[in-house]
Symmetry: C2
Subunit: 419 residues, 2 copies
């Protein structure tokens, strides 16, 4: 059978399983999660052995150290997966909640009930713990999930998918609610992208190349973010001590993540005092600066000139672009030209400008006087997240359990007809 035919069979089974998942009680889903946590603790030898085989192959193929690191499962990583299961048990079941129920003039009661999306297809790169972390969120939200991991993690992912299947079966839920694509064949992704009658949404997680490939091929909706080019704007009259703390935190606390700061915009009035101060602080934190001609001399040593391509760039490193602007409007124009719709913050003491920025900055999270690093499902109060969406359709920002559901209209009548 061809890969395309295999994928269609898999998607049909997922659709079928999604009906049972949608009707499953919160208790049944939580029992599954508890069972899976147990299996991740008591049956880890098989998973670790499969992972060792993946690692051996990857080393032979010459994978670089960071990718080997991401591929590696340890007892601690497996404990983390078990812990994630238990954390999700603690989150309320979103399915079946009715958000409002209001009467219409004719007596109909109209509300919206949370329902699962149906079948979610996750496509991700090497980190094998995503197999569990993504599956458990999709399943608690009442969906079926098709998992397509990286080829270098295939043995590890198959072992983890075996535990998912076993935990579903022993909890009286359909085993086909979590299926792993058992091949490294790239044709599998192309085939999945065409099954829009069976798969409700694709969620690619990984590099920009992977995400663009899915977006260009998929005929169903795609929840995605390409990158995080996050800005902080230092307003005229900002509290400079506070701004320093926030900028250093946003840039240096964890520079490799998507909500790290990539570009600092400073109002011309604040530049003469704030830039020397932040230049020192960033230097101490090991940050290299790439600055516009007005900012560079004020930042002191460690600040080189910015090339045009440094604006709008996600450095993923201890590097920061810096630019002086003459107004809030100029800052917003820069953000709308170079930002990626991820996270934008203003540091200000002025209420009107705070509100203006809050309304006009176009990003999934807009903050006042806080670090960009708060754009995260846990920090914003969603519990676990499956990723951060930077497109505005369906979900904008971190996606937790509720974002893995939809809402249908429910209408309770007593014989009403339309006149």
């Amino acid at each position: 059978m061809s890969v395309a035919a295999d994928m269609e069979v898999m998607a049909r089974k997922a659709k079928e399983a999604s009906r049972a998942m949608a009707a499953a009680s919160g208790a049944a889903k939580d029992a599954f999660l508890a069972r899976l946590a147990e299996l991740l603790e008591t049956r880890r030898e098989g998973v670790l052995a499969a992972n060792a085989a993946d690692l051996e192959k990857a080393r032979a193929a010459g994978l670089d150290a960071p990718r080997l690191d991401r591929l590696t499962l340890t007892p601690a990583v497996m404990d983390g997966m078990a812990k994630a299961c238990r954390e999700i048990i603690a989150l309320p079941d979103p399915v079946g909640a009715i958000e409002s129920m209001r009467p219409r003039p004719n007596g109909l009661l109209v509300g919206r009930m949370r329902v699962p999306l149906g079948v979610i297809c996750m496509i991700y790169e090497s980190r094998p713990n995503v197999t569990i972390d993504a599956a458990i969120l999709c399943l608690k939200a009442g969906n079926a999930v098709i998992l397509k991991g990286g080829s270098e993690a295939l043995a590890s992912n198959l072992a983890l998918a075996g535990l998912l299947r076993e935990a579903l079966e022993t909890s009286d839920l359909p085993a086909d609610a979590a299926q792993l694509v058992p091949t490294a064949d790239r044709a599998a992704v192309a085939a999945l992208c065409k099954l829009d009658e069976l798969i409700d949404v694709m969620i690619p997680r990984g590099g920009e190349g992977l995400i663009r490939a899915v977006v260009s091929q998929a005929t169903m909706p795609v929840l995605k973010h390409y990158k995080g080019v996050c800005h902080a704007y230092i307003d005229s009259g900002a509290d400079e001590a506070r701004a320093e703390t926030i900028v250093v935190n946003a840039k240096a606390q964890r520079p490799g993540v998507c909500n790290a700061l990539e570009c600092l915009l400073v109002h011309a009035d604040a530049a003469p005092t704030f830039l020397p101060r932040i230049g020192d602080a960033l230097r101490r934190a090991g940050v290299t600066m790439r600055a516009c001609p007005r900012a560079q001399p004020l930042l002191g040593e460690g600040a080189g000139p910015a090339a045009p391509e440094d604006f709008g760039h996600e450095f993923h490193d201890l590097i920061l672009a810096v630019k002086v602007v003459d107004s809030l409007n100029e800052a917003l124009t820069h953000i709308h030209r170079y930002g990626s719709g991820h996270t934008e913050v203003i540091l200000t003491e002025n209420h009107d400008r705070a509100m203006d920025f809050l309304r006009r900055a176009d990003a999934s999270m807009v903050g006042v006087n806080c670090s960009t690093r708060f754009n995260d499902g846990g920090e914003l109060g969603l519990g676990a997240e499956i990723g951060i969406s930077t497109s505005k359709l369906h979900s904008y920002g971190p996606m937790g359990l509720v974002e893995l559901t939809s809402a249908k209209f429910v209408v309770l009548g007593q014989g009403q007809v339309r006149g």
Copy 2:
């Protein structure tokens, strides 16, 4: 310049205009709507003359009567467009609303603020009043809109787009917030479908062929529905008089629309009494029935045998498929196999089965003891609607003003950083 290059220029202007629209006050948007209503009343001669030219060409090209009818603008249709503008003035501005604002343990206040989607591209077929009806909803929700109508309505649409532009300009809003694609070239749609960096969402409205063409080409999200194959399930013990009224209303009140009933499912216990009764009533309403072997003899004359393809079919006519089932489960299995995720209703006196159906039927509207015809933005309390989505991503069911927006996270801090 090529059509593709023209479309990119248009989309860039739309993106630029979308920034000003997103920041516009509700008062400015309502002033625009009031001005447009005036223009639709005082400047109708130009539009009607353009429409006469379209009609002459269409007659010469041999368009059939229903399509000529849809293409025709009359003073009454233009009054309807002006009235639509004023109805939308009366709806609250969704943009800037913050749905909740809750403190996190670290003192951050976290909420979600309604924001426009950005640039919406509407692709629709012959009816030229869609140019106004769609544009005003998109604009009141703070978006910019690109309009691509049917080639046979090009002159009419250009005239209407001229009024949109004039009303925007005289209200200090950017004229490029509503642009009509000024060509009948089909390459325009293909080019628009690739501009995912500039256009946030495509909304195709028309036949299934048009919608599938957009879905297969678009690299941005598409809000759509293919068809409405709506079912009513008559439970054992249903109130037969009430069920008769509802079934006749759902099928016969306006059979050509997507929320009309297409298939009646009757529990075997109810069949011996209900089928003869509904057979009579439907016959009196001019409805032809296509029935399964168990139902046909009970329905009386006017009921022929159903072919397999009659189930899952959208008749758009006074024709109804009828089938006897042995349980609620069998009804749901039939609905999930043949339904289109549009509208499903149960007619029952039993509370548990009503709740079971409400939870498990998979459709954008699920009703108890009411007509399928209520799946409509006006009837469900949304005000005007731009269409009904049958896919669960972003919006499920009628899409009104709020569904033409997204929600971003807003975070108010006092210096918080991540630890």
